[in-house]
């Protein structure tokens, strides 16, 4: 009975005071829009920084010990690969070199900044191509584009990609054949292209033009373990054996990327403040509404409405208004996101969105707690103009 009368009172008031409830619903919708976009932006930026490392087909990533887990500062010579491959825990290992270049489609002047990753064909580091094939050999003039690069450039398997790279003081152009397209593997907030390691070494930007005499250097090593669940002890054994190496898992590697943690904590702080503002706005609205209804609530209590009826009606109103506000905000977010160009780092990830929505659905009842406290204090005597 209590639920039905509470529901009845709650729905009747919402229906007959639509303007008031639509206004607060719209405010909740805007807060939802902001929170979801911040979550998507945080995910998009985080994804842009970590996608390549996160999807790497290896459990450990080896850095030069003194590089402080910085990919660009870490430098290995070719000789270390044999030592790594000889480790009993290691099932496979692949050298990875990183640089940033501009690319364009043949015949176009429009340049796109991408992360160019040198990888060893058929070894950890080379992404699986969902379209086309893998890289043919370590010196081949071939390239695999990640999905982002493919979409942004409008290129696919069989097309020609032009890499613009500064060699010394001269900008040189290198032509590569696109042999495959992989899923999204961004790195340093840029689309990625994958080239054979020796090709990478040849065409990557250099301060001094390549004379072909220097030893091949690369930045990190992706390691696939015999026992993937043994990454901690395997990493320790590798570090003990190879004193110049720091072995970390993928998560530690991308969290150490410059600015990654600061960026994520900034986004999280913004989200937190937005939610806090949401709680205060919703709480403030329902508090004012409750204060305006003190006489009416006193009358209902004098007529014999129990506290639980009054609470439930108020709580139902808060939950219903909040739910529709969040629903409206979610739909608006989806609609708005569909109009964004592909370059904007907005990623709606299932669990992040669910978490944000769950938090948003909680802000109403949380903000309404103060109103419930006020309702509890309203005495039926107020209906007779008497104070306790």
């Amino acid at each position: 009975m209590r639920t039905s009368i509470s529901f009845y009172l709650a729905v009747k008031e919402i229906w007959r005071s639509k303007g008031r409830f639509v206004a607060i619903g719209a405010v909740i919708a805007l807060i939802t829009l902001l929170v979801l976009f911040l979550a998507a932006l945080g995910e998009g930026l985080g994804n842009g920084n970590r996608e390549f490392l996160d999807k790497l087909n290896g459990e450990l990533i080896l850095f030069q010990e003194q590089a402080n887990l910085s990919v660009s500062a870490s430098q290995f010579g070719r000789s270390i690969m044999n030592d790594v491959l000889r480790m009993p825990d290691v099932s496979a290992a692949g050298a990875i070199g990183f640089s940033s270049v501009f690319v364009s489609m043949a015949g176009s002047n429009e340049l796109l900044s991408v992360s160019m990753l040198g990888v060893e064909p058929d070894r950890p580091g080379e992404p699986p191509a969902f379209e086309g094939r893998g890289l043919g050999g370590v010196r081949a003039n071939e390239v695999i584009l990640d999905e982002n690069a493919s979409v942004r450039l409008g290129l696919g398997v069989g097309d020609e990609l032009i890499v613009q790279s500064t060699q010394g003081t001269v900008d040189e152009l290198f032509s590569l054949q696109i042999v495959g397209v992989s899923d999204g593997r961004q790195y340093f907030i840029q689309p990625s292209i994958f080239v054979p390691l020796l090709t990478w070494d040849r065409i990557r930007p250099k301060a001094v033009a390549d004379n072909g005499q220097d030893e091949l250097t690369f930045n990190i090593i992706a390691v696939k373990l015999v026992d993937p669940s043994d990454e901690v002890t395997a990493g320790q054994r590798i570090e003990e054996r190879l004193s110049t190496v720091k072995a970390v898992n993928r998560r530690t590697a991308y969290e150490a990327a410059p600015g990654y943690s600061a960026q994520q904590s900034t986004i999280n702080t913004q989200q937190g403040f937005t939610l806090l503002i949401g709680v205060l706005v919703v709480g403030g609205f329902f508090q004012i509404q409750t204060l305006q209804k003190v006489a009416q609530v006193g009358m209902l209590k004098a007529l014999g409405a129990s506290n639980s009826v009054v609470y439930s009606a108020a709580l139902l109103q808060i939950v219903v208004t909040n739910f529709f506000g969040v629903l409206l905000g979610s739909l608006a977010t989806l609609g708005l996101a569909a109009t964004f160009p592909p370059g904007i780092p907005i990623v709606f990830q299932g669990d992040q969105v669910v978490l944000a929505l769950a938090t948003l659905l909680l802000i109403g009842p949380l903000g309404g707690l103060l109103s419930l406290r006020i309702l509890a204090k309203v005495e039926p005597l107020t209906a007779l103009g008497l104070a306790s």
């Binding site: 009845y8 006193g298 007529l303 014999g304 009826v309 005495e379 005597l381 209906a383 008497l386």
Partner: protein, 250 residues
């Protein structure tokens, strides 16, 4: 006759710092079933406090209040709320109706609160409102009604669930004389017709002409009880004619 309400030496004291204020001073009254009583007195005489205690909204400092078979002092807070919901009908001076419910819904509210809402209950509410001249207003909101119409809706609400006792707090306070007479006369007629008991707190003595008995309180004490129709008519009439000399400051 069946006793609908009996108060035995009811005392209500408030503590204001070190000062003890006596709002109601050992008042004993008895109201029979089917009787409509006016509780009158000047401002501060304790009539509203008395009404609050009879409704179970305030507990007496001493004394007991019986309504039907129940002694209010023996009931818990939750039981008193339930008792009020089931056994008492209420009209108030102001803020009488739920603003977002229509006239019909306001009356049906008591049935819904008691879990007794039904089609038959709705028909009864419509009959009652028709009787009160509100047939054309069933689906209007309170804001679309005059003060007198709102009071008539609250009368219907006070009677719809067949309460043992109907309490009316200054039902004519915001009405002009003609509407005030109409409202109280209708109230009295319905109470008599349905054999309910009613107490009307009022400072307007002219309204006493429709009641069966007048209980006058002064300074928290029972000052006098007027029972004969002739005396009541005289009491109401005298004060009506000498309105400018009335000492009541409400």
């Amino acid at each position: 006759m069946t006793i609908a309400l009996e108060t035995n030496s009811v005392l209500k004291e408030y503590q204001l710092g070190e000062l003890t204020v006596t709002a109601v001073d050992r008042v004993s009254i008895r109201i029979e079933a089917g009787e409509f009583v006016a509780l009158v007195g000047p401002s501060g005489s304790g009539k509203t406090t008395m009404l609050a205690m009879i409704a179970g909204l305030l507990s007496p400092t001493q004394g007991s209040i019986h309504i039907g078979e129940a002694e209010l002092g023996q009931l818990s807070e939750a039981e008193r709320t339930q008792f009020r919901r089931e056994k008492i009908g209420f009209t108030f001076q102001a803020n009488n109706l739920v603003p977002y419910l229509t006239v019909l819904e306001n009356v049906e509210l008591m049935l819904r609160l008691n879990g007794r809402y039904s089609r038959a209950g709705q028909d009864r509410a419509i009959d009652l409102l028709t009787r009160l001249g509100l047939k054309e207003r069933l689906h209007n909101l309170p804001s679309q009604l005059s003060g007198g119409q709102q009071q008539r809706v609250s009368i219907a609400r006070a009677l719809i669930h067949n309460p043992e006792l109907v309490l009316a707090d200054e039902p004519t306070a915001s009405l002009d004389t003609e509407r005030a007479y109409q409202v109280v006369q209708t109230f009295a007629d319905l109470i008599h017709e349905q054999n309910r008991s009613g107490i009307m707190v009022t400072h307007d003595l002219r309204m006493c002409r429709y009641v069966d008995r007048v209980i006058q309180m002064v300074d928290g004490r029972l000052d006098r009880v007027i029972s004969s129709p002739k005396e009541i008519a005289a009491f109401a009439g005298i004060y009506a004619e000498r309105e400018d000399e009335i000492e009541y400051d409400d």
